[in-house]
């Protein structure tokens, strides 16, 4: 009884071991190469023919090598690149790729640890070449997109030639900056540029101020002059009317008018008490004073 139990157990365990060594799972996000004694036999779940799930292999003889199937990124080291116009730029780029041909990848690069430096070197030399023939202005602003596309194609071509077995999905320049040593120069330029702008703004303000003041002064002068003009004309009218009135009135008897007006003037001019008169007794006023009541 117990012997049978032990035998059964042994068989069951052996069965389990064999099954565990035969069946294997290839996940959605990975692809696998089956090798027999190190020689690749077949590929499971490559991008061209997706087939994730449970798979079988010859137990013990076959080995499963798993590779990532997803889109992965590799950041290239920051690099100083001399653009076509001799300006230096620090460029930071990353590449996104996917293992598209696992067999090639496995043969050429073996695994990620082997792939990283090789791909990075390839990216760097591509960037150097593509960006080296563009001006810094193009790299920074004008044609960054086109240059990235160009570099991507170049990397893809080189990767294909080198049989990396990868598909380059994208290559993007993350940063393209001036080297740290150039920053103070840029800052100085920005500073002087702003100072110039500030001075200009202040000068324009001052100009406007003076213009406003000048125009105000002009307006004042014109207003006052206009008022004077009107005022003098008015006074003239008044004088003219006065003259006409007097002329009409006095014209009726010029002799009496002259006498009458003289009397008024004497009174106004001499009758203020501040005059000392030296009179002769033979003036008309003193007619009776001198000659008595019989004077004629």
């Amino acid at each position: 009884m117990s012997r049978r139990f032990v035998a059964l157990s042994v068989v069951a365990i052996a069965f389990l071991v064999v099954v565990a060594n035969t069946l294997f799972i290839v996940e959605q996000r990975e692809q696998a190469i089956i090798t027999r004694f190190g020689e690749p036999m077949r590929v499971i779940n490559p991008p061209q023919s997706p087939d994730p799930g449970l798979h079988m292999k010859t137990p013990f003889l076959d080995q499963v090598i798993r590779l990532d199937k997803r889109n992965q990124s590799l950041e290239a080291d920051q690099e100083e690149i001399v653009a076509a116009d001799q300006e230096r730029l620090v460029v930071d780029a990353f590449i996104r790729y996917r293992i598209s041909n696992p067999l090639q990848y496995y043969r050429t690069l073996r695994d990620e640890r082997g792939a990283g430096p090789l791909i990075e070197r390839l990216v760097n030399s591509s960037l150097r070449q593509v960006l080296g023939s563009a001006t810094s202005a193009d790299i920074i602003s004008g044609h960054r997109g086109a240059l990235m596309q160009q570099a991507k194609i170049d990397v893809a071509r080189r990767a294909a030639t080198a049989r990396f077995g990868i598909e380059v999905i994208d290559l993007r320049i993350k940063r393209a900056d001036l080297p740290a040593a150039n920053q103070p120069t840029v800052y100085r330029r920005m500073q002087t540029d702003r100072q110039q702008a500030a001075a200009q703004i202040r000068a324009v303000g001052e100009q406007q101020k003076r213009e406003i003041i000048a125009s105000a002064d002009k307006e004042v002068a014109i207003t006052l002059a206009g008022a004077t003009e009107t005022a003098e004309a008015t006074r003239g009218e008044g004088d003219a009317l006065r003259t006409r009135i007097f002329a009409q009135s006095f014209g009726r008897d010029a002799g009496f008018a002259s006498f009458y007006r003289s009397m008024q003037a004497y009174e106004a001019a001499l009758g203020q008490g501040d005059t000392t008169m030296v009179l002769s007794p033979d003036s008309a006023f003193f007619k009776y004073f001198e000659r008595g009541p019989g004077a004629k």
Binding site: A176, Y187, T223
Partner: protein, 396 residues
């Protein structure tokens, strides 16, 4: 796994008191020295083993004894199987979606609720928070600036210090899980790259002032395009510029431009103040001038009319008696004039020498303003010399 769970005793029953591990003790690695300091040693350990062995034997019918009891064995197997089957129950939270894989291959997505998948080695469920918004800060989070992320070259080759955040969410869980190896990091890398590309096409002034919205939109679009091209299954909800400043080193110069604008404004304001004051004053002055001219005109006309009327009246009467009136007017006027004046009456007839008048005679009559008759104590000149100043008109 339930058979490893203390709270869920397996077919071997509860772990014996004192044992803190329910695995079969034979599997425990190491000897007594490897155990924790509190672990019982020596005879106590042996007693524990004995007890466990007895229990096991009781379950399976003993070693050399009556053989396996089939019923018990089947029950145990059934129990194990049942627990295993139950381990496929799981909850999907309202903000989540579950992606179920069968032997690693994508099979279906599950909505929120209590769900079931075939137990562990066959099917697995990965839960992804689809409605939650994720946020990436570039250029450093608040208070911790990362200059190498935040300093960017603008289109006019200036440098701007710019921090921004990207809000994104998972649009397609299976793509999110299976397409990108490092989706979260990718979002940040794409954000940086896109923002720099957009900033590289924009002038500094525009970034600092009114171009921000445009930059945000362009960056979000570029990010979305890139991520879609990768098949990332990610939606960029928003790109938000938190901070866009000139670099520290030149901030002062930029501020000065702003204060220059203020200066210019205030210069203009001063000038306008002056203008308003001066012009209104001038208008007032002008009004005064014209008004006084009008007053003058009116006054002279009225006075002339009055004088003329008076003259006309007198003339009428004068015509009736010209001689008398003339005489009377003359005398009355002389009276009024002489009454208020200093008078010196000199008879120059027969005078052989100039008459010297005392200076007092020429003093204005201020002290005696009121005329007291015709005699203000004016000294009648007694000297008989003709005065230098006098022209004693020989009126006759």
């Amino acid at each position: 796994m339930p058979w490893n769970d203390n709270a869920n005793p397996g077919p071997w029953g509860s772990p014996p008191p004192g044992g803190d591990d329910d695995r079969p003790p034979v599997k425990r690695p190491g000897g007594p020295n490897r155990g924790g300091p509190r672990r019982p040693e020596g005879p106590e350990v042996n007693a524990f083993f004995d007890r466990l062995a007895r229990q096991l034997r009781g379950m399976f019918g003993g070693e050399g004894g009556r053989g396996i009891r089939p019923g018990a064995f089947a029950a145990v197997l059934l129990g194990v199987f049942g627990l295993w089957a139950l381990s496929g129950l799981y909850m999907v939270q309202p903000n989540e979606e579950a992606v179920v894989t069968t032997f690693g291959a994508y099979s279906r997505s599950e909505a929120p609720g209590l769900r079931y998948h075939l137990p562990a080695p066959i099917e697995r469920a990965e839960k992804v928070a689809v409605t939650s918004l994720n946020r990436v800060d570039v250029g450093g989070a608040a208070g911790a600036d990362v200059p190498e992320e935040s300093l960017m070259l603008t289109g006019d080759e200036n440098i701007v210090d710019l921090d921004f955040s990207v809000t994104w969410r998972i649009a397609n869980p299976s793509r999110y899980l299976f397409t990108l190896r490092d989706p979260d990091l990718s979002v940040k890398a794409v954000a940086e790259s896109a923002m720099r590309e957009v900033i590289g096409k924009t002038a500094l002034q525009s970034i600092l002032t009114n171009g921000r919205g445009q930059v945000q939109i362009a960056t979000a679009e570029l990010m979305q395009r890139t991520l879609d091209a990768w098949g990332a299954g990610i939606t960029v909800v928003e790109v938000q510029i938190r901070n866009a400043n000139p670099p520290q080193e030149v901030v002062a110069a930029f501020r000065d431009v702003q204060s220059a604008q203020q200066d210019a404004e205030s210069a203009k304001n001063e000038a306008n103040t002056y203008r308003n004051r001066v012009i209104n004053e001038a208008k007032g002055d002008a009004a005064r001038t014209t008004q006084s001219a009008l007053a003058y005109k009116e006054q002279s006309v009225r006075e002339a009319l009055g004088d003329a009327a008076r003259f006309n009246q007198i003339l009428t009467e004068y015509k009736r008696a010209p001689g008398v009136t003339r005489e009377r007017l003359y005398i009355e006027t002389m009276q009024r004039v002489l009454a208020r004046s200093n008078k010196v009456v000199v008879d120059s007839k027969g005078a052989s020498a100039p008459i010297i008048l005392p200076p007092d005679a020429f003093r204005p009559r201020t002290t005696a303003a009121a005329p007291r008759g015709l005699d203000p104590a004016a000294p009648a000149a007694t000297a008989s010399a003709p005065p230098v100043a006098s022209q004693p008109g020989p009126a006759q």
